[in-house]
């Protein structure tokens, strides 16, 4: 690769010259150009792009709904949105963001694109199944959108019975069916990843030579396989309950809504790690690349991924401390929840130790990664507050919880998503984005995020409950601050969409390895050819074998 020299030699963008593609190897984007070649593709890279486009669409829908919610909360008396419309707005935000953005976000896009590249395979093990899972995803997501078009739903993303089964007068059924369908898409993606990682690794790619990104996606895929079917049943029972009054969750017949919550959180707590683990994988790739230093404690980080994916199945009851589950269950779930902090902390310490004495380049992906680490620490530590039984009684279902999980989901996953998007954008598209614009966007999002969500910790601690359209007037200042932050955050989201799309046509051509990063995906061209590698890769080295002696320029010796 002549990546380094190109990167160093060029300044400013080169003029757009379509002819120059002729002497490059046929890349996956230009191999075929019909619509059919996109919608019937079995190339994991193209399917990743299909996912990227569709989840971006859902992100926009979810973000607009969030904007509406924050707008409504500028005034304390519900003058902008009445109760019903407010409920529908936050439900739309939650349903779309959780089910159609966060859960598929990193695995279905980056995972799809990068896992075969990182392990040196030509494709995932089951390419047709991969395409099928995109169609299932779109079918389920659009099915859910039917309920939005018809008038919306007001149950919150959690669909708790008996609100969703007996009391809600909104379009709950299409949403439930749609989310059930989307679950199968997750399962099939997870299945594909598990099998691919086990069976398709290039010669020499042993388990402890896998990038952490692959490890975290392996752990995520196991959660997909083991947890998703349980919520499928929970949702099927909800559908049956709402349509046929089955009664299993209905206290009127002796059923128990708490049972729904058990089944729901058996999936939905591990789903937090479906959303977080892939992000951790992204950060574990970005940090060594921009510190030009071997990832500290590689094996610990790898084991921590598997540890998180396992421990997460033992803690779901901490969502249910005040709903009448037994004291014994609350005690056990509370105690085990603290165990989650251990593998999480292992990861954070290892990232910071990697940064320590590295030769840092604060380019856009690294800025996102550092933002991630800070916000994840805050989100994680406030999780310990919530895991504590006594404190939980006080802050349960308040804005403290809202702030906590947004620090994890947005501060964590979305920042990792955007960081990864900038990191691998040259690989996806073959183009470089404007670096200074990238840095501005990272900064905007970090500031906007904190202004939006930090006040919500205070609001929650002071006792403002979540999911209400109105609130006491003394909370208005902090709410206005939070809404103001949301506008900065919105600008931070819109900006990358503009300059990234701009770069597809007018960006400077990307070299194979613009960041001098390690990993098989950087050893092929940008964008890669259809079967990923021109010569089949072999893996003689440990992962992240960045030079131990760091030079002044941070460059890697040949």
């Amino acid at each position: 690769m002549t990546a380094g020299s190109i990167d160093a030699g060029l300044s400013g963008r080169d003029p757009h010259t379509p002819e120059s593609t002729l002497d490059r190897p046929r890349d996956y984007l230009h191999a075929q150009s019909t619509l059919r070649s996109w919608f019937l593709t079995t190339d994991h890279k193209r399917i990743a792009i299909l996912y990227l486009t569709s989840i971006t669409l859902f992100f926009i829908i979810g973000a607009v709904a969030a904007g509406v919610v924050r707008l409504a909360l500028v005034v304390p008396n519900g003058a902008i949105l009445n109760n019903d419309n407010y409920n529908k707005a936050f439900t739309l935000h939650g349903v779309v963001m959780v089910w159609f953005f966060l859960i598929p976000s990193i695995p279905a896009t980056f995972g799809n694109f990068l896992i075969p590249l990182m392990i040196g395979a030509k494709d995932l093990a089951f390419p047709k199944l991969n395409l099928t899972s995109w169609y299932i995803f779109m079918a389920g997501a659009l099915f859910t959108m039917i309920s939005v078009v018809l008038g919306g739903i007001d149950t919150g993303w959690t669909f708790y019975a008996p609100l969703s089964t007996a009391f809600s007068n909104t379009w709950v059924l299409p949403a439930l069916i749609g989310v059930t369908i989307v679950g199968f898409s997750s399962i099939l993606t997870g299945l594909n990843f598990v099998v691919t990682i086990h069976t398709m690794r290039a010669p020499g790619m042993t388990w402890f030579r896998l990038p952490i990104f692959v490890w975290t996606h392996y752990a995520t895929s196991l959660i997909f396989l083991l947890a998703t079917p349980v919520i499928t049943v929970a949702l099927i029972l909800l559908v049956a309950e709402r349509a046929f009054h089955v009664g299993v969750f209905d206290p009127a017949y002796g059923g128990d809504p708490v049972l729904f919550q058990h089944l729901f959180w058996f999936y939905s707590h591990p789903a937090v790690y479906i959303m977080v683990l892939p992000g951790m994988g992204v950060i574990s790739e970005i940090v060594p690349a921009f510190a030009q230093k071997k990832l500290f404690g590689y094996k610990f980080v790898a084991y921590a991924a598997i540890g998180l994916a396992s421990v997460t199945f033992f803690v779901w009851g901490h969502h249910m401390f005040v709903n009448g589950q037994s004291d014994l269950a609350s005690l056990v779930f509370s105690g085990l929840s603290f165990a989650v902090a251990v593998p999480s902390a292992v990861k954070v310490y290892n990232w910071t130790a990697t940064i320590h004495k590295g030769s840092l380049r604060l380019d856009t992906p690294m800025l996102y990664a550092m933002g991630y680490i800070g916000l994840f620490v805050l989100g994680g530590l406030t999780g310990l507050f919530l895991a504590t039984l006594a404190i939980n009684q006080h802050i349960h279902a308040t804005y403290f919880v809202v702030a906590h999980f947004h620090y994890i989901m947005v501060g964590g996953t979305v920042l990792a998503f955007l960081g990864g998007l900038h990191f691998w954008w040259p690989k996806f598209t073959g183009r470089m984005y404007n670096e200074s614009w990238g840095r501005v966007s990272a900064l905007l999002i970090f500031i906007g995020f904190n202004v939006t969500f930090f006040p919500q910790f205070i609001l929650g601690y002071l006792g403002m409950p979540r999911r209400y359209a109105t609130y006491p007037a003394e909370f208005q200042l902090l709410n206005v601050l939070s809404s103001a932050g949301a506008t900065i955050l919105a600008a931070g989201y819109i900006f990358p969409m503009l300059y990234l799309v701009y770069s597809i046509w007018w960006g400077r051509r990307a070299p194979g390895n613009p960041w001098q990063a390690k990993g098989l995906e950087w050893e092929t061209t940008s964008p890669p050819p259809t079967l990923n590698f021109i010569t089949p890769p072999k893996v003689p080295n440990q992962p992240y074998d960045y030079p131990i002696k760091v030079t002044e320029t941070g460059g890697t010796p040949a």
């Binding site: 089951f126 299945l191 099998v195 083991l226 049943v233 009664g247 299993v248 017949y253 049972l259």
Partner: protein, 226 residues
């Protein structure tokens, strides 16, 4: 036993056609086997959630569950279990024949398997009909419910319908897939290209059988009482 169709010494060539993205046939075969096991992992948790619900109903309403179980068609369930165990035998036979390259015998064993699966569904349908006649369909809001004096019994009876219909859906899909595959497998050269499809499918079929082996006692047997 369906080995009558097999003749001597002219077994078809058995093997797998290498797909473009795999390096070796062994890798491809291993991926397919691991893939189906990963899918079965998911299926197990799917039914486990329903069985857990049954267990919780028994813990919270033991008398009502006992009452409801007494009205389930124990003997039809038992006969259906026999039918599925027979179908597992024919499926195993189909796999063995596919390995031997005895294509005709394999196709017949597969048809027998599909036939036994259909018999299961027919018996299940008759069972539902009998339940309907006995007013044991509490989810039908317009129809009186036999055990109306025990509201909690509704829960177990309704769960029985959810669980058995989900299993029946798996069986129905399975029969459809099996017939489609049998159609392909009857063509010349199938075993030389896709022998492992039979093995992979066989795992799925055995697993549906396994789920019923669990569902029959959980729904019909363990909650019986005087």
């Amino acid at each position: 036993m369906n080995s009558r169709g097999a003749a001597h010494h002219d077994g078809a060539k058995v093997g797998i056609e290498l797909a473009h993205h795999f390096e070796t046939v062994e890798q491809q075969r291993y991926a397919a086997t691991l893939g189906i096991w990963a899918w079965l992992l998911t299926e197990l948790l799917l039914f486990a959630a329903l069985f857990l619900t049954a267990l919780i109903l028994r813990v919270t309403h033991p008398e009502a569950v006992k009452l409801a179980t007494g009205h389930l068609k124990f003997w039809i369930g038992a006969v259906n279990t026999v039918v599925l165990i027979c179908s597992s035998l024919t499926m195993s036979a189909a796999i063995e024949f596919s390995r031997m390259g005895w294509q005709r015998a394999m196709v017949r064993a597969m048809l027998a398997t599909a036939g036994l699966g259909t018999l299961f569904l027919l018996l299940k349908g008759y069972e539902y009909y009998a339940d309907y006649e006995e007013h044991m369909m509490p989810f039908l809001s317009r129809r009186p419910y036999e055990l109306h004096e025990s509201p909690a019994s509704r829960l177990f009876v309704n769960l029985y319908y959810v669980a058995t219909s989900l299993h029946a859906l798996h069986l129905f899909t399975g029969i459809g897939l099996l017939l489609g595959m049998t159609w392909m497998a009857a063509k010349a050269g199938f075993l030389a290209r896709h022998q492992n499809w039979i093995e992979v499918y066989g795992l799925y079929w055995h697993f549906i059988d396994l789920v019923w082996i669990l569902a029959f006692p959980i729904l019909y047997v363990v909650n019986r009482g005087a």
